[in-house]
Symmetry: C2
Subunit: 207 residues, 2 copies
DNA sequence: TGTACATCAGTGAACGCGCGTTCACTGATGTAC
DNA sequence: TGTACATCAGTGAACGCGCGTTCACTGATGTAC
């Protein structure tokens, strides 16, 4: 079993293709995910991919799924990090803040992955609510945070209505601006500061 | 001069190419702007375009420029429409509202054009401020509206600082959501209502 | 424990697509004398 | 007013590119007897 010569069978090509896809998207954005490019970077013939994925679309969805998981993880971590107050109402506000800042944090840290995440996630069906009634995790976290604020007395039920849209608009909009728009390439410190302003402003407007 | 047989010389091919480009982008978004497709829809050979544009990029910029003008026009009209109050402070707030709603209105009415507008506009240089110090008209209108609010006593100078970012984030984010995201395809009435909620929320948060 | 053989995971070559762009050209226009 | 000729605006064919996908194949693996 010579370790230097590549074996005919790869071993775990499926995972290798997904990893290569992640690397390409990370570097070059959603459009960098081409079937030939992925197989090339693994060092395998183009059609080898068809043993593991029905077509490019399927591979694309699989990579997007991984990326979306990571986005949700970042949001979850940030939400828990930001929640520091012992006051219940205040803590629930901090959680909402964390959800928004986590989304922005991921977008800025990994713009390529972020692009694929929102592209495919938005592509899906009608968007926030997929056909099977499932809500994508990031959006679900926002809803949960807002509901939590009502429960903890930080938001009236009246103001809760439709509150998800100003929140999602601000946060998603800022992520887009910082990633591909006017603020692209600005220093991290500045972006963090502005992200805080954006999130705090919308929260202030909600209450 | 038979009118039925096409003359060898087109007459105004440059304009015809731009019009065809606008039509294609309107229908199919930014990616639909291909040189071959544009010349094909005018009924001319592909390389005829090279008499009027250096390359695809140049044509693309020209079409994007037209679209950006139309976006600015829509914003301007909406700003003036929304400004109804005789109270100066209130009127300046209404103008800000109109600027935001105009941006959203254009995006929803013409998603294809909107896509090209933000793509190429963002592409430019670093974004909001181009290298020659010029600010793109839509963003300039936002800045002017905010400055007007300070002048008319509707916003303190302190709160004016950085106020453009929450505003732009909300409005741009909602346009994106309504155009390609979770709210894509929702009835116009609902989108208009939510646009109002989004814009009013951020304005409330600002003050 | 050894061997036949089905199954699986890859290869290599090719197809057809639409793209942007370039080449050498030709038909039409307009200007100088 | 007529004619030579430069200039301009288009044509037609071709190039090379990278793409997704399909075809017939072959090398490796594992299982049944």
């Amino acid at each position: 079993m010579p370790v230097t010569s590549r074996p005919y069978h790869h071993g775990d090509l499926r995972t290798a293709l997904l990893d290569a896809g992640l690397a390409l998207v990370r570097e070059g954005g959603a459009d960098a995910l081409a079937l030939r490019e992925v197989t090339r970077s693994v060092g395998v013939s183009p059609n080898a991919a068809y043993r593991h994925f029905a077509d490019l679309r399927t591979l694309r969805f699989a990579v997007a799924g991984i990326v979306q998981e990571r986005l949700a993880q970042t949001m979850q971590r940030r939400r828990d990090d930001e929640c520091r107050s012992s006051d219940r109402a205040e803590a629930s506000v901090q959680r909402l803040r964390g959800v928004g800042l986590g989304y922005i944090e991921f977008a800025i840290a990994e713009p390529g992955w972020y692009e694929l995440a929102i592209l495919t996630h938005d592509d899906g069906e009608n968007g926030a609510v997929t056909t099977d009634g499932t809500v994508p995790p990031p959006f679900a976290m926002l809803l949960a945070a807002l509901d939590g604020m009502v429960e903890d007395g930080a938001l009236t039920a009246e103001r809760r209505a439709h509150a998800e849209w100003p929140c999602w608009s601000s946060v998603h909009g800022f992520a887009d601006i910082a990633t591909r728009g006017p603020l692209k390439g600005q220093p991290r410190l500045m972006l963090d500061a502005l992200a805080g302003v954006v999130v705090d402003t919308v929260i202030a407007g909600l209450r």
